[in-house]
């Protein structure tokens, strides 16, 4: 299991391996590493302290059954604790009523406006609702224009008004929605500091005069220790119903999620994971825990792969990988399947050991993918089955046929060889494969 964990952490945990019982002495190093891992993930200092203490308590004295390895038991305790903390009291987005209003709030630059667009998109797509966006950020230059542009691209209506009072705008917007048969109102608000009394008052006024089904804090996953001040500040003032963690497509761990859950009962409803309008995913505590602990997000890939690759196909390919008879023809098939999975970097990032192989920051240009496909398609079926025959003249022909350079052809062949040997390792059990 912990082959996939952060290097340091897995090293510390290895020491527990082979011991019959978990004692204070033999988990001390591991506890230290877990503490550091959490701090490096930006989990709040106090939260880390309590978390570590509670894991220790649970782990200590726990009799390890003969059949289980103590290191596995230990890491399970850590993970379970994280998951239960991250997942408890989950309440999905309110979509039960016939007419609903949701208000987004948060610091400057946390991603409220983009998230408003994504939510509208999701509500329409998944819940069949008719959303209206209300432009409540009357301060930042071009904030309304930003929302309008997003709405136009989605073909979703926006309500804006040239007024100085945001509460009035919201009320007018709600009437507008009702008059126009729209049934889910999303209020975008200006970014503000939780210590800005005047601006916090503005939100409180809306909250106490408008029937809001949801008040959602939009928070940047890259936030550091100050997150607790922000979370408690907004929650104390507004009684949040949920939170959306943005910019999770970055390489931040997002320990703020843990701080949020530990300090409040506010559930994390979604995570933002791209700048595009479909970049809003449901929150999975399990995956978040693995991300924080630096474990591969295998579950997610497995899920994505399902439904795209048929079982027979998968079995067939697995067999080929094992026997080493995987050729460029198979590569092309796999490649096409992978393309259907969406941005490749998201998939690779989730692979176990991606980090130690230096692949966690990889990014794949869709254009490159098209080029690879073009190159393979320019080969004869025989060449695809026997890439070893590809010498200079053939390569030149392929390059010409695909409109790429010979270097690119070479690079592809090299990558293919690498992939092949990687697969051999996987089937030899040196590395585990999620599917």
């Amino acid at each position: 299991m912990f082959e996939y964990m952060g290097d340091r952490l897995s090293k510390a945990i290895k020491n527990i391996r082979g011991l019959g019982k978990i004692t204070e002495d033999n988990i001390n190093d591991a506890m230290k590493e877990i503490r550091l891992a959490l701090l490096e993930a930006d989990v709040n200092y106090m939260v880390v302290k309590e978390f570590v203490a509670s894991v220790k308590e649970k782990a200590l004295g726990m009799e390890v059954e003969k059949s289980l390895k103590p290191d596995e038991v230990f890491i399970k305790i850590v993970k379970d604790e994280l998951v239960s903390l991250l997942g408890g009291d989950y309440v999905p987005l309110d979509t039960k009523e016939n007419f609903e209003v949701i208000m987004l709030c948060g610091l400057q630059g946390s991603g409220k406006t983009t998230t408003a667009g994504k939510l509208a998109n999701l509500l329409r797509k998944k819940y069949n609702r008719k959303p209206l966006l209300i432009a409540g950020d009357i301060y930042r230059p071009a904030a309304i224009k930003q929302l309008e542009d997003i709405a136009t691209s989605l073909n979703i209506p926006v309500f804006k008004e040239d007024k100085k009072n945001v509460l009035e705008i919201v009320n007018d917007g709600i009437s507008y929605a009702k008059d126009n048969n729209l049934d889910y109102v999303i209020v975008d608000t200006a970014g503000r500091l939780q210590i800005d009394e005047k601006l916090m008052e503005e939100l409180k006024e809306i909250a106490s005069n408008v029937k809001l089904n949801e008040i959602i804090l939009v928070i940047d996953a890259m936030m550091g220790q100050d997150a607790i001040n922000v979370i408690t500040g907004f929650n104390d003032a507004l009684n949040l119903t949920g939170c959306i963690l943005t910019k999770m497509d970055g390489d931040t761990k997002g320990g703020v999620a843990l701080s949020l859950r530990h300090l409040t009962n506010v559930p994390i409803k979604f995570v933002g994971d791209s700048e595009k309008m479909d970049g809003l995913s449901e929150f999975y505590p399990e995956r978040m825990a693995e991300r924080i602990l630096d474990m591969g997000d295998i579950l997610s890939i497995a899920e994505k792969v399902e439904g795209i690759v048929s079982e027979e196909e998968a079995l067939e390919q697995a067999k080929k990988m094992k026997t080493g008879s995987f050729d460029l023809e198979d590569f092309l098939t796999t490649f096409k399947q992978i393309r259907k999975l969406g941005p490749l970097e998201n998939i690779i990032k989730m692979l176990p050991q991606a980090r130690s192989m230096g692949l966690n920051n990889i990014s794949v240009d869709p254009k490159d993918m098209a080029h690879i496909e073009a190159i393979i398609l320019s080969m004869t079926p025989y060449e695809r089955r026997h890439p070893e025959v590809l010498k200079a003249t053939r390569k030149q022909r392929i390059a010409k046929g695909s409109g790429r350079s010979v270097e690119e052809v070479n690079r592809l062949l090299k990558q293919f060889e690498m992939m092949k040997s990687m697969m051999k390792n996987i089937s030899n059990g040196k590395m585990k494969m999620p599917f």
């Binding site: 701090l39 230059p141 939780q194 890259m222 550091g224 220790q225 100050d226 497509d249 320990g255 700048e275």
Partner: protein
């Protein structure tokens, strides 16, 4: 304690400053950092009262305080080791004295290494180009507005180029700031950022602009395509104007956690980052990650943002920063 005495002198000198403007500046700076400082120092002071003798608990709490300021886990751990070493070697027992050592060592983190100039480099022949980069939402566009205001006040002819052609409303946002700061503006929605930058620079040269401020789209540093795009923009600038961009400023939100180090590393790899702008210091976040960035990536902070108005920019000054953080403690 040479460094510490120097610091003390600096601090007391600051109190004697006669220059009205400078005094005003320090006051603003202080106000912006007041919350930061109060919290940090009150914690250190409580620590001093709670522990008159140096003990393991003292160290633990100190570590806590430093981590809470987002100084960076590695930096803090190294710092703590160093401190423990000094305590042992110099046989320090008194926490009041140790506090001085702490300030001393914290300063060392920032000052050590080849210190890059904290001044903005100007182009003697032709426009000075300043490129603004960073992840999404940190305050790049607003910082451009603030710089435009500053240079405009200094009588310079300023032009803003809207290199963010991606985010909805971004071109408009910059255009509004150009109007408010009486700057020239070049932008074209929806086209390739590198070509917008190129055309903008041509116009800047034609119009004999002194300072060109180039906005770019926010990008997460792990997105290779977007980083490549930035590389291209950078290349267009340097081939078009010799020695440009004179400055490439990486904007970092004070609330940023450990990821700030990765941001600094990645952006430095792609462009020649000459400094950091630390924004949103008017909030409760401490921006301590800049200490780790200085230590690990050796990038100095050049400006700080203390609000959303175009006047809310101050040059960064480590003396002032430390002064703000530790005034009450010293």
């Amino acid at each position: 304690m040479g460094l510490f005495n120097k610091l003390k002198n600096l601090v007391s000198k600051k109190e004697e400053v006669q220059d009205k403007k400078e005094q005003e500046e320090i006051k603003n700076y202080e106000q912006g950092l007041k919350k930061t400082r109060e919290e940090f120092v009150s914690k250190l002071n409580i620590l001093g009262i709670k522990y008159t003798k140096v003990s393991e608990e003292y160290f633990e709490e100190l570590e806590n305080i430093l981590i809470m300021a987002d100084i960076g886990v590695n930096t803090v751990m190294k710092f703590m080791d160093k401190l423990r070493d000094r305590v042992k070697h110099e046989n320090i027992k008194d926490t009041a004295y140790l506090k001085e050592v702490i300030v001393d060592e914290l300063l060392v983190i920032y000052v050590e290494g080849e210190s890059l100039s904290d001044k903005i480099k100007m182009n003697e022949n032709g426009p000075t180009v300043i490129l603004m980069v960073g992840v999404n939402g940190v305050g790049k566009t607003t910082t451009i507005a603030k710089l435009a205001h500053k240079y405009g006040e200094e009588g310079k002819k300023v032009m803003l180029i809207a290199g963010d052609t991606f985010r909805a409303g971004a071109v408009n946002q910059l255009e509004i700031w150009a109007k408010r700061t009486n700057s020239l503006f070049y932008g074209k929605e929806g086209s390739d950022p590198a070509s917008v930058v190129y055309d903008g620079l041509v116009e800047a040269k034609e119009k004999n602009v002194d300072i060109v401020l180039i906005d770019t789209a926010g990008r997460l540093q792990n997105k290779v395509n977007l980083m490549k795009e930035l590389e291209k923009i950078n290349k267009v600038i340097s081939t078009h104007i010799e020695g440009a961009p004179q400055e490439t400023l990486l904007v970092i939100d004070a609330a940023t956690g450990q990821n700030g180090i990765m941001q600094a590393k990645a952006f430095k790899e792609i462009t020649n980052i000459t400094g950091i702008v630390l924004t949103k210091l008017d909030g409760t976040a401490k921006g301590g990650i800049v200490l780790a960035i200085k230590e690990e990536v050796n990038l100095p902070v050049k400006f700080i943002g203390l609000g959303e108005k175009m006047t809310d920019l101050k040059p960064f000054d480590i003396e002032n920063y430390i002064y703000g953080l530790f005034k009450d403690m010293v």
